[in-house]
Amino acid sequence: MSFLGTTTIKRTASSATLAVFLLLPTAVLAERVFVSNEKDNTVSVIDGKTLEVVETINVGRRPRAMAFSNDGSELFVAVGDDEAIDMIDLASLKVVRSLASGEDPEVIRVDPNQPYIYVSNEDDNIVSVLDYQQRRRVTQIPVGVEPEGLGVSPDGRWLIATSETSNMAHIIDLESMEAVHHRLVGARPRYVEFTEDGSKAWVSAEIAGKVAIIDMQDTFDVIHSIDFEVQGVPKEAVQAVGMQLTSDGRYAFVALGPSNRVAVVDQQSHEVLDYLLVGQRVWHLALNVGESRLFTTNGVSGDVTVINVEGDVNDFEAIRSIPVGRFPWGVIVEP
């Protein structure tokens, strides 16, 4: 189900400010949203103001996870079937180079302090560390299991790799580059997101349809597990995948896959506050910089739902559906 044409965008800017904006080059102004289309081998670029696709970038085969370089000049795209990370220059919107990544990269993360990209290489039981400035492989972290989902703590101290063969979150100390804690989570753990202060990590489990919250300060144990239940949707179809946490510590958003819903969760009480209907098979999420809007990729319906997340949970609503390429997978907003 999509919302195409059912609602109009709320215009927050007055016409006077709009007029001022129009005098400036749009590239500087408009927030850009990047969407990887897994089946089309492209990345769609959406203008954050007009909510229209303004550019489609050809990339390698099977693009999925994306991340920005720390200086914000490049976008990295994991192109799984090419076993590489494509690097898009954000000024020209062209792939300017490509870095070999090891087999089938799906999830990538960038270190907050160093020019490093972490890539999970499932078949080799390692996480590869690539230096994107020197364009070389720095090292490999052996994790003992097939790593899939990855998350880096905001201070760059911890890396969490999830494994679907063990259904565990493997917590890696990035100083010693060693997996030091192993915690059982729900079936098929997919995605890891840290809270703004780094005190907790949220780990979603696709098949279990649950989110585990791990204490990252003291015990490194799972301290809470969130269940989701959508009225009228079979429980098997409620699967937890992408997540976004607001920086003020208030809300968390969880993409619930083929249930076509995004859950709104209270970050403090872990209570599920609402389920928002979006497109089909919602996979990943991205908040814009001002955290006023949430973008969702909907794989089966081939579109992006834009949700207004300004104000209170009662104000949250889908405001637009934007058609993109086939099987949109990842989404990321330019910082």
């Binding site: 039981n125 299991v145 679907e164 063969t165 192993h182 059982l184 079936a187 279990a208």
Partner: protein, 425 residues
């Protein structure tokens, strides 16, 4: 009598893999290498110092393939390790989590050559400590196994026999099924044919007992989903040689004649489980009609072309181990052993009664690379699972199809339902 029994324990990480990893990183600074080496030593020590780890021993009991049974197309490899390879892989998968949880999974294997050796095979597995049995046996041999006093109260996972009776009036509380029933396969196909609105079927079946049971399942599916079997006929010829010179000359003339009396139909449904004639039908029909059933468009628990939902990882792991593709029977054995791994990890226990309770409880769900979690129906212990609908070289769809609803789970629209089943524990 030939009774092979092997002991297999897999404890990751393997030495070979460890060696190659060190070789690769030899390019990097020496201190890092030394550091990693010490890490590996520490890991090895941890494993060695863990003698108290709890063990789950699983016995795989299989029946050697009868020499006469080969698929019709010479493109299909003839396999002699079907099923057991899936169990071996699942043992390795279980041990990846087990190494962190202090649990170890061990497989013992017995492959017998006839029904009369089932008793000996079981005896050897029991002597080696098997607490659980995964059966790669067809129905008759499986029923012999279930009557064996030496089985005691051990649970048997049926990973090979598709017979509906085993899930119905002949069901047992200690019999779990990870392979789908014929009816589940028939329902999965019928749902897809319903989606296509190909609701008028002409049915062609072989002369074997298996084919008669398949026809019965196909009829049940047609009735449930409102399809019409407009005509039905048995293929009158005995099996031809697999490599008959110029076989198509005869086939090309015979099939159009055979089907010409059929009433108007949308699809030709074949029931030929032993694969002795069905493969001839696609493209040979008088009218241009798709062929489905045991050949052509086929419902199946597993297929090499299936790579969604992370399945590509399972396919790769399997191929690295077995040096061939994973088949539905391998997958059923994998599911059985992984069920025990999942139950042991979640309960933190290895006691059979604890694992059994957990597997039949509401909390149990296993990631089977099929998009939806799989779980056991508590009333007949059949694993509810999505079924792939495939062509020879591509996955066409996955059932249950959208819109087929059930009060418990959409997966329960596949196979006999509780209300119509004669299964009572």
């Amino acid at each position: 009598m030939q009774c092979r029994v092997e002991d297999r324990t897999k404890s990751p990480p393997e030495t070979g893999r460890r060696g190659s990893m060190i070789a690769e990183i030899g390019l990097y600074p020496l201190f890092l290498m030394l550091f990693l080496l010490s890490t590996f030593q520490a890991q090895a020590q941890n494993q060695a110092q863990n003698p108290g780890s709890a063990t789950v021993t699983i016995g795989y009991l299989g029946l050697a393939r009868p020499d006469a049974l080969e698929s019709l197309s010479v493109l299909d490899p003839v396999l002699d390790d079907e099923g057991v390879q899936g169990a071996r892989l699942a043992i390795a998968d279980n041990n990846t989590a087990g190494q962190f949880l202090g649990q170890e999974f061990v497989l013992v294997e017995a492959i017998v050559t006839s029904r009369t050796e089932v008793s000996d095979g079981l005896q050897q597995l029991v002597e080696q400590g098997a607490d659980w049995i995964v059966s790669g046996l067809p129905r008759a041999a499986l029923e012999v196994l279930l009557e064996e006093p030496a089985l005691e109260d051990r649970v048997v996972f049926n990973a090979a026999a598709p017979d509906d009776a085993l899930r119905g009036k002949s069901c047992r509380a200690n019999l779990f099924h990870t392979t789908p029933s014929r009816r589940m396969l028939a329902d999965a196909l019928a749902q897809f044919l319903g989606y296509k609105q190909w609701t008028r079927w002409a049915l062609v079946h072989g002369n074997t007992d298996e084919d008669r049971l398949r026809v019965k399942a196909q009829r049940g599916a047609a009735k449930r989903f409102g399809h019409a079997i407009v005509d039905e006929s048995m293929w009158p010829y005995d099996p031809m040689a697999r490599r008959a010179e110029g076989g198509f000359h005869a086939i090309q003339r015979e099939i159009p004649v055979f089907v010409q009396a059929f009433a108007e139909h949308d699809v030709l449904v074949i029931a030929d489980e032993n694969d002795y004639f069905g493969e001839y039908f696609p493209f040979q029909t008088r009218l241009p009609r798709p062929v489905a059933g045991t050949q052509g468009l086929t419902p199946t628990a597993w297929h090499r072309a299936h790579e969604s939902w992370g399945a590509v990882q399972l396919q790769r792991r399997f191929e690295e181990q077995a040096e061939r593709w994973m088949t539905p029977r391998d997958f059923a054995a994998w599911l059985a052993v992984r069920s025990l791994g999942e139950a042991a990890a979640r309960t933190g226990a290895v006691a059979p009664e604890k694992l059994r309770d957990y597997m039949t409880g509401e909390a149990f769900e296993l990631a089977g690379y099929l998009g939806l979690p799989v779980s056991y129906r508590p009333w007949n212990h059949q694993l509810r699972q999505p079924i792939l609908v495939t062509g020879p070289r591509m996955v066409v769809s996955v059932s249950p199809q959208e819109g087929y609803l059930h009060p418990v789970s959409p997966l329960d629209t596949l196979g006999a339902d509780q209300g119509e089943s004669q299964c009572r524990f």
